[in-house]
Amino acid sequence: MKNFKLSAPTLLLLPAIVVLAAVIVLPLLFSFYSSFTPFRLTKPDTLWLFVGFRNYITALTSVDFWIAFGRTVLLLTIALNAEMLLGLGLAMLVNKATMGQRVLRTLMLFPMMFSPVLVGFQFKFMFNDNVGFVNNALQSLGITDRAIPWLIDGNLALFSIIVAEIWSSTSVFAILILAGLLAMPKDPVEAAHVDGCTPWQTFRYVTWPYLMPFAYIAMTIRSLDVARAYDIVKIMTDGGPAKRTELLWTLIGRTAYSDARMGLANAMAYIAILLSILFTVYFFRKLAAARQQIGAEW
């Protein structure tokens, strides 16, 4: 019986490891295996057939897949950058406010309380070509007299989805950057002012490096749930019109459940997982680097 006692941290971490292994790691291994089979839900026997990399080749040579892939990356790039800039702007605006800051901060949190499905629904309602707020407003203001088909035209639909995505996640950036602004020491800014820096120089070389770690935390959090866009797209357009807003995740869902081609869908899913893990590790590293940089100065 000696040496059988596990050390305290192992024991404490055990439940977490067991649950994550059972519900996430093992299923992923299983789906990794099934991505090498022509598994279809309707034909259970196909699970035991091994076809090597055929699913991956099918996925990687399919035009639909690459279009969805490119669109996903495009959407993420636009959305993350816009969220970052707007979040920074919003945080600065609120930080500058002399009164009612608490109320403003609470209001700023508002979109964070909306689940992606709700965000999707509310923008589906707002952008509805017939009864939506946006068209009603445009028509009442006399900017246009026809109904703009926000969710029916392919490009406009993608635009609407990006708007919804930005609306829902800008506050994550804003709130974290604001936390950074509030935690920042005042002396360096004053010193820069005395030394004759322009406001822009002060921001660029003094404030911004301090805010970097906070921005990267927001990026890391966001990259962990980039797949949230699935919910928004699903409810707003469901990949339509004519697949013009199809993202990786909606494509995977359609392949798996509508076409019942589980094997192929799992192969695609692995490519999607790889993509989000890359994002996460990238921002996690950036975070560590930015933290070290200011750690040296503080």
């Binding site: 305290a8 519900v23 789906s31 605006l93 609470t106 309380m113 989000s276 994002f279 590790v281």
Partner: protein
């Protein structure tokens, strides 16, 4: 002289610009939610009206009454969805908190081999998109016959919440000075007692906010729920809302009312934790 006045003018302009900017930003943030609430209260005729009616003439709670009286309009059993959501979210939150507390404590108080690797590994499990995870879970749950049950949803959400709960709780335990627990141990407490009587109460608010965060994740989750839940047995509110929107007769008022029902618990809970949430998340930013 003129430079002084121009300087003053510029400052005033900047100030006005700042207020206008703030106002526009806040309007954009609040407007969609406000519009949903308003639409759930006004008669359908007004929502559909052309040219649009901006100022509502009559407000009523009819939509809510219709929704909660038996099988609501459009055949959506809101009560069942509400109950499922509540059971699944609360149970999974409690379990995730217990697991998260033991894990977070281990990260905050012990040094061991491969600590940061394990931490990153935990976080990476969160990077798996819900829809990608839903494929194998769907197959496995269907095989074992636990698909479309509360149990399968709870199990899934516990796993979904554990990494983030550990991250948050780790941060909150770090904020509690180590000396306090050590002093308690010197005074004769066991480590177990020191934890429950000293460290736990101090980290309490933080843990509560981690719990609320986990609750919200479960409450709002859609991608997994949409595949693992199949019937009234276990369908949650987000899935119910999507079912509603996919119907042919579009009842905007009813959908808005359902959306309001979904947002109210989330709204209340987020208000409670807002302070702790930010401090928990940013704790690792500068003192990692």
């Amino acid at each position: 002289m003129s430079s002084v006045t121009s300087h003053r003018l510029r400052r005033r302009l900047l100030k006005v610009g700042h207020v206008i900017g703030l106002f526009i930003a806040m309007a954009i943030i609040c407007l969609p939610g406000f519009w949903i609430v308003l639409s759930s209260l006004r008669p359908t005729v007004e929502i559909m009206a052309k040219p649009p009616v901006w100022v509502p003439e009559s407000l009523s709670l009819d939509a809510y009454r219709a929704m909660f009286s038996g099988v609501g309009q459009g055949g959506i059993p809101v009560w069942d969805y509400f109950r499922n959501s509540l059971i699944i979210s609360i149970t999974s939150t409690v379990i995730a908190l217990m697991i998260g507390m033991s894990g977070g404590y281990a990260f905050a108080r012990y040094r061991f081999k491969g600590k940061s690797a394990i931490f990153l590994g935990f976080m990476l499990t969160r990077a798996v998109p819900g829809i990608a995870l839903s494929l194998p879970l769907f197959m496995i749950y269907a095989r074992t016959g636990i698909i479309d049950t509360h149990f399968s949803m709870i199990l899934t959400y516990v796993a979904l919440n554990v990494p983030f709960t550990i991250w948050l709780i780790d941060g909150f335990f770090r904020q509690v000075p180590k000396d306090l627990a050590e002093a308690a141990q010197i005074d004769g407490c066991t480590r177990w007692q020191a934890f429950w009587q000293v460290e736990f109460p101090l980290a309490g608010p933080g843990i509560a906010s981690a719990g609320i965060f986990a609750f919200l994740t479960s409450w709002n989750e859609y991608a997994l729920a949409s595949q693992i839940t199949r019937s009234v047995n276990s369908k949650t509110l987000p899935v119910g809302l999507l079912d509603y929107t996919a119907e042919f007769t579009i009842d905007w008022r009813g959908m808005c009312a359902l959306a309001v029902v979904m947002i109210v618990p989330a709204l209340t809970l987020t208000f409670i934790i807002q302070k702790h949430l930010v401090s928990g998340l940013t704790f690792g930013a500068v003192k990692g």
